[in-house]
């Protein structure tokens, strides 16, 4: 974590805490739709290496991506659930399924904004139960339109630069 001065948002927000191997991360609750048991993964030919396949949930076809490799350096060995979340690319809302290795928890707390020293995938930090937890920026961590992801990352850097 950075030692740079940090800002705290004025009002508490809701976050979903998720577990990826030994570490816990958070996502803004508005982004999370559902936590479901792993179901059949459908695979078909494609050239997006970060996508494992798709699942079918309530008639919706949702791509699966394991973000643990980017965050922890290795893929999840134990998958207990798929966290179904949404990402916004411009006007488009896109669903993604993220395998997680444990129960999730809903918390309401203040978020400390990320600083210029943080990785682009870090939207902020939470302090919860004695733990400091990264709030993830899912659109940066998961595959998406290159121009949008790039502009999000560069804008994020630009905004956080002193």
């Amino acid at each position: 974590m950075t030692t740079a001065p940090i800002q705290t948002t004025e009002s508490a927000q809701s976050f979903v805490l998720l577990r990826l191997a030994e570490r816990r991360f958070a996502l803004p609750a508005w982004q999370v739709a559902e936590l479901v048991a792993p179901s059949r993964i459908f695979r078909f030919p494609h050239k997006s290496p970060a996508i494992e396949g798709v699942i079918l949930r309530r008639g919706r076809i949702i791509a699966i991506t394991d973000i643990s490799e980017r965050l922890n350096g290795r893929k999840l060995t134990t998958r207990r659930f798929f966290l179904l979340a949404t990402r916004r690319f411009g006007a488009q809302l896109d669903w993604i399924a993220v395998p997680v290795s444990g129960e999730c928890e809903l918390v309401t707390t203040d978020m400390m904004e990320s600083s210029a020293n943080d990785s682009p995938h870090v939207a902020g930090w939470l302090s919860h139960a004695g733990e400091v937890i990264e709030v993830l920026r899912l659109s940066v961590l998961t595959p998406g339109p290159p121009d949008v992801s790039a502009s999000v990352m560069s804008r994020t850097y630009a905004e956080t630069l002193p």
Binding site: I51, W95, P143
Partner: protein, 176 residues
């Protein structure tokens, strides 16, 4: 007073062909397939394209005044090729598609756009995804089998093959 009850709008449906390529099931709109022929049936009509730099296309075939390029679907999708048994002649494209077999014809009522998480060539390959009997099936885009640049290269390979064939005919005629 009589009240007329408007009939409930029928969901839009589309007839599709489910076909197999190297163990994968894919779908194509029936409307985009002009004709299905067996590989044996067209063997004598296909022309070799030895100069083709497009790995998935090794043969062409004349259909009326048009030349169609026979695309090996397995190689197009990056799959391990298996012996193909059928050729789909596609409407409004210059591609004919070499596939392993047909699974069935059915109807789809919903086509979901490919997730934005897919950012590779598949965005050109597929119109979207559908579900048939609770199984997700990609619906191929007939125009996605050959790009404009691939067509340009294939036309050059075709020209070379035609020139060679004419030269062989001419030399054969002179010997006689």
């Amino acid at each position: 007073m009589q009240t007329s009850v408007a009939p409930a709008p029928q969901p839009r449906t589309e007839q599709i062909i489910l076909f197999r390529v190297s163990g994968q099931t894919l779908a194509i709109s029936s409307a985009s397939v002009q004709e299905v022929r067996s590989v044996d049936n067209i063997a004598g009509m296909a022309q070799d394209l030895p100069d083709s730099t497009i790995r998935k296309v090794r043969h062409s075939i004349r259909r009326g005044d048009r030349t169609l390029y026979i695309v090996n679907a397995a190689l197009h999708f990056g799959l391990q090729p298996q012996p193909a048994s059928l050729v789909f002649f596609l409407r409004r494209t210059r591609a004919a598609l070499l596939v392993d077999g047909i699974e069935k014809m059915t109807t789809m009522s919903r086509l979901q756009a490919l997730s934005l998480a897919f950012q590779g060539e598949e965005r050109n390959w597929y119109r979207g995804l559908t579900t048939i009997d609770q199984v997700v099936v990609p619906v191929v885009q007939p125009e996605g089998f050959l790009s404009l640049s691939e067509l340009t290269l294939l036309e050059a390979a075709q020209l070379a093959a035609d020139t060679r064939a004419i030269a062989e005919q001419t030399s054969g005629a002179q010997i006689q």
